[in-house]
Structures are given as structure tokens and as C-alpha cells.
Assembly symmetry: C2
Homo-oligomer: 333 residues x 2
């Protein structure tokens, strides 16, 4: 959209930050609440962020921006029951598409309800029906984008703390064939969304949402990059065997970012790992090198040696030269 | 979509009926329940109907059709809090658009969750969160399209029974300037969605959802056609004066289709009207002549004398010649 409108890199970055901050302000503290009620936070709050970003790129005035946000809110969608299928990543793309549409509609004079996002407004009533949690009045202090989490693993974010624990235990020297039982203690939402799966996913997409399978991969020394979740899903029988030994329990002191793992070995020894803050969250951030590794894991099979230079250009986005360089790499691909 | 695919008129009609029956089967008896929880039934069930129609036109097999329905279900959207703005009719168009997209995605191999529509499935859990009402196992007997309701008035369907009552009282000879008070007794949902408005709408769109205003129009002899809801909204001061005298009360014996009106005159006389089944519902259907009148009210300002012939062609849709005739009229417009 930025390219179509001839926006500068700085304008695009500014629009992105506008969208990010808007989504965070409306959704602050509500991610787990909407997820527990069957709605994907990306589809609820991401759509609003996309509309805010579109409004910024379109340079809408205050009133039109309110209509864009209203048009986006009334398109709220994305069921958590779709997790583990192609529909989950589709939620993110569709949220972006609907947000752009909302901005374009508002630019054309579309009128929506402008108080849908208010505490106790139409969005909250429909998505958080029991009225026990509420959209908070917006707090405009600080920058939420500085508190963003990144995902080091190509699996559901809720699996990350337990995967960190599994990787800590599964590092070099550990023999996963000597495992008798694995007890994963996780937060309530991680249990609800990812804990009840079989441990024997039939597709990579299912595997990303199967905590038992993800923990087993980690114990077997995998880094859970995109390469571990290619279709068709193929892994050593040992991974699936370990996954069968995993039990998942929710603990009230654990959250979205924390987990504990107890691995009982055949010789009776117990190995434990305690992850208070999973890698990628504020307090335990990914470094630029971690980012580069993830990026390369995603694009290197396609871009080869150009992966590094593309990463460097993306990192400098906003200097006015990055977009042309990115286009050149994309064309060559 | 049918034209793009080169479908015959019979195939298009068949796809339409497929979509209609699908939406009704899933949503049977749940229209008021989803509305009361903040979701527009058109956005919830209409989207599934559109996907089913698209699947029929695309001749998808059973499995792909399930994925199309899943892709549509996870796009469920449309907030009732948008009623009274452009976003409400937008819900219908967006449901159609998303349903077509769902069909096209499934045709391309997209995989969604295929049990979202089941009783207690992901859609029901997200939209009917208190678990007090459920999607019913599909009943495939009969044709729901034969039980369809049509709207004779260009206002919210929930206003129709009270408008019928107002028109019964307001027919020729009635003097609305002699009205002291108007008591509208309606169903709970009509009260909730349309009863709490001011009676003094600032736009035609607001007016369509304002029961007091709609009843006043009826008492003043208007037929509530599209012409009564043109922007900017202009009506005699008397209509707004009467609207101010209307009070709305929900009665447990009244439903979506029924209403009672008590008009108290300045001379103390009380005139009443009791509508058990509003015009347009099964049991009190619109005739073809009623349909023609509504159609002409919508298109005559644009199509003039061609309105009649277009109506006749639409009525014969399926004979294989209607589409060409409709195209000819559209081109000439």
C-alpha cells in the first residue's frame, strides 16, 4: 500500500508504528482473554492496527480515521479453533487486507460506528461476552513496540517457554532415548490451546500447535526452525516416541512466558529446567544475530547468499535506500 | 462469480439455493441469539451461505467444500453495534466477498478446520459464549427458502411489525396531529436494537433503526419505501413531533414478527392495532405485486420504464434468457 501511494520509507515505518501502537493500546492485556473465548488476537486487534496504518498512509483526518477503525472493528474475525490449519496464518493476512480496505473505504467517505473500540463498546460486548474483562481506556505513555516479543521458533508462541526448557535439557550430551517420562508444566492458555494434542501430528501445521511434539523436538536437539516444520512432516521415530511420553499440566504460577520441565530418565534420575521468561520476550530478547539466524532459516533456501544483504537492508529500512535494494533482491529471486 | 465461471442460469439458481439452505441449516433458530450477543446474523450465517454457493459454482468436491465452509467460518464478522451506519449493509456485501474468497481458496487447496460449524464447535463457542444455545444438528428435510421473509419496508426488519400496526392505524382518514401518546409493544430484540433510539435521527441510516421514527412515519401515512430514507433525511416536522410521543416497551408474548400499538388521541380516544405476523413473513407473505412495487421504488428513479421489464426478466431467471436481458438493461442504464 505504501508503494502504491508513493510513500517514503519513513512514512511507511511511521505507519507501521502507528498500527502497532494502536493494536496494542486497544488490546492491552486482552490477548489471553480473547484467545480463551475463541478469538485470535491477531484477527481482533491486528485488524485495527492494519486500519490505523492504512489511515496513516492515506493521511486521513481524525474523523475519517475513526471511521476506518470502525470499519475494521466490524470486520473482526479469526477463530482459535482454526489453529493448526492454513487458516491461522491466513488470519494475519486477512486482517491486513481488511484493514487496508477499511482505510480505503473511510478515504472514500464510508461511515462506520465510531465508538466500537470504547470500553464496553460494541467490539468488547461481542468478543468478551461475559463482561468480566474490559478494553481499557487508552494509555498513550511510552512505546509498546519496544516491548514486542519475537518468536525464535516456527511453532505456536504458547509452546515457546516449554521448548526453551526442552532445549536447555536437550543440549549436547543429553541422550533422549533414555527418557522415561516428561512432565511439562505450563500456563493455563498454553495447556488449553496446545497441551491437549496427541503428540503425533499428521502435518507440520498440526505439529506447530502440539506442545508434546514441540518439547520432544527440543529434547532431541532440534532448534525448531522452519526446517523442522516442512510439509510433509518427517522426523525420526524417536521424536514421536519421546512426544508420547510427555504429559502437560497447567500451573497457576505460570504464564504466557514461563514453563517448567521435569524429565525422568530410565535410571531414575530427574532433570529439570525452569524458564521464567522465554527467549524472545522482553527481559530475554532475541539479539540481532538470533534474528539473522531465523531470517536465514526462512529465506536462504530461496535467496541463497543474498539472504545476508537483504537482512542488512531490512535492518536499515527508513534510510531511503532500503526499498530499492529490497525490490532488486525480490526481482532477482 | 457465476458469470465469470460461465455458469448457466440454472447453475446460478442452484448455487443460490445451496447457499441459502446452508446458511439456514447452520443458523436455524439462532438469529436472535447471535444478534443479542452483538453479532449480525448476516455476517455469521450469510458468509457460510456465500461459501456454499461459491463451492457449488466451483463444483468443489465434498472435502474441498468442507474447507471452504471452514475458511468462511473463520472469517465470521459483523457487529450489531454497526447498525444504523453504512457498515450494516457492508456486512452483507463483505460476507459475500469473503464467501467467494473462501470458495476460491478451497479450490486452490486451502485447508481449514472442518468441524467449526458442528454443535459446540469453534464457531459456536466464539459467538455464543455462554453455551446456553447451540447450533443444531442439520435437519435436511424441506426447503427453508420457501419460508423466507421479505422486507416490504426500507427499515430494519425488527421495526416491521410496529410499522404494520402504524400503517393500519395511519391509513386514510387518520389525523396524526391529534395524537397525544403512542405506546409500541414489541419483542425483546426489537426493543433492544431499535427501541432505545431518540426518535430524532440525524441521518436516513439512523432512521432505519429508530423504531419511534419508523412508527411515526407509518402513522403519517408513509409507506416506508426507499424514498422515505433518502439522504439527507427530510420529513415534515410533524413526523418528528409524533416520534417524540412514542414509547417502546418489550412484551414477553411478542416476537420478531409481532407488535401491538396503542395510540392515545387528544380527545382521550384510544386506537389500537395488533399485528400477529408482520407483512413479508410466512403466514403473511408479500405478493408479486408487492415485490414489484418495492422493486420499482428502488430502481425506477434510475431505470424509468425499463423497471417493469427488468422485474419480469428477474422473475423468469433460470429460463436461460434472463441473464442476457438483464445485462442489456444494465448496459443501457
Amino acid at each position: 500500500m505504501g508503494e502504491e501511494l508513493g510513500a517514503s520509507e519513513v512514512e511507511m515505518l511511521s505507519a507501521f508504528v502507528t498500527g502497532f501502537e494502536t493494536a496494542c493500546r486497544v488490546g492491552y492485556g486482552l490477548g489471553e482473554a480473547v484467545t480463551a473465548r475463541g478469538w485470535h488476537g491477531t484477527g481482533v486487534f491486528g485488524r485495527l492496527g492494519a486500519a490505523a496504518a492504512a489511515a496513516a498512509l492515506l493521511k486521513l483526518d481524525t474523523e475519517a480515521t475513526l471511521h476506518a477503525l470502525g470499519a475494521a472493528a466490524t470486520q473482526t474475525s479469526g477463530l482459535t479453533a482454526s489453529f493448526g490449519t492454513m487458516a491461522k496464518p491466513f488470519h494475519a493476512g486477512k486482517a491486513a487486507m481488511d484493514g487496508v480496505l477499511a482505510g480505503q473505504l473511510a478515504a472514500g467517505g464510508f461511515h462506520a460506528t465510531v465508538d466500537l473500540l470504547e470500553p464496553a463498546g460494541g467490539l468488547e460486548r461481542a468478543v468478551l461476552q461475559d463482561g468480566s474483562v474490559h478494553i481499557k481506556p487508552a494509555d498513550f505513555s511510552g512505546w509498546e513496540i519496544l516491548n514486542n516479543s519475537f518468536k525464535p521458533y516456527a511453532a505456536c508462541h504458547l509452546t515457546h517457554p516449554a521448548v526453551d526448557a526442552g532445549r536447555q535439557i536437550g543440549k549436547s550430551g543429553f541422550d533422549p532415548t533414555g527418557v522415561r517420562a516428561v512432565r511439562a508444566h505450563v500456563g493455563e492458555l498454553a495447556k488449553q490451546i496446545t497441551g491437549g494434542k496427541s503428540g503425533a501430528p499428521e502435518s507440520a501445521l498440526e505439529g506447530k500447535f502440539d506442545l508434546k511434539f514441540c518439547v520432544a523436538l527440543a529434547l532431541h536437539g532440534h532448534n525448531l526452525s522452519a526446517a523442522d516444520f516442512r510439509e510433509p512432516l518427517r522426523h525420526d521415530a524417536g521424536v514421536f516416541e519421546t512426544a508420547r511420553k510427555v504429559t502437560v499440566e497447567a500451573k497457576p504460577d505460570l504464564t504466557f512466558t514461563s514453563a517448567r520441565l521435569e524429565v525422568e530418565l530410565d535410571n531414575g534420575r530427574i532433570v529439570t529446567a525452569d524458564i521464567p521468561v522465554a527467549k524472545g520476550h522482553p527481559g530475554n530478547p532475541m539479539t540481532w544475530n538470533d534474528m539473522r539466524d531465523k531470517f536465514k532459516g526462512l529465506v536462504e533456501s530461496r535467496l541463497g547468499k543474498r539472504s545476508n544483504s537483504l537482512f542488512e537492508q531490512l535492518r536499515e529500512f527508513g534510510n531511503g535506500k532500503a526499498l530499492a535494494a529490497i525490490r532488486a533482491v525480490s526481482r532477482a529471486a
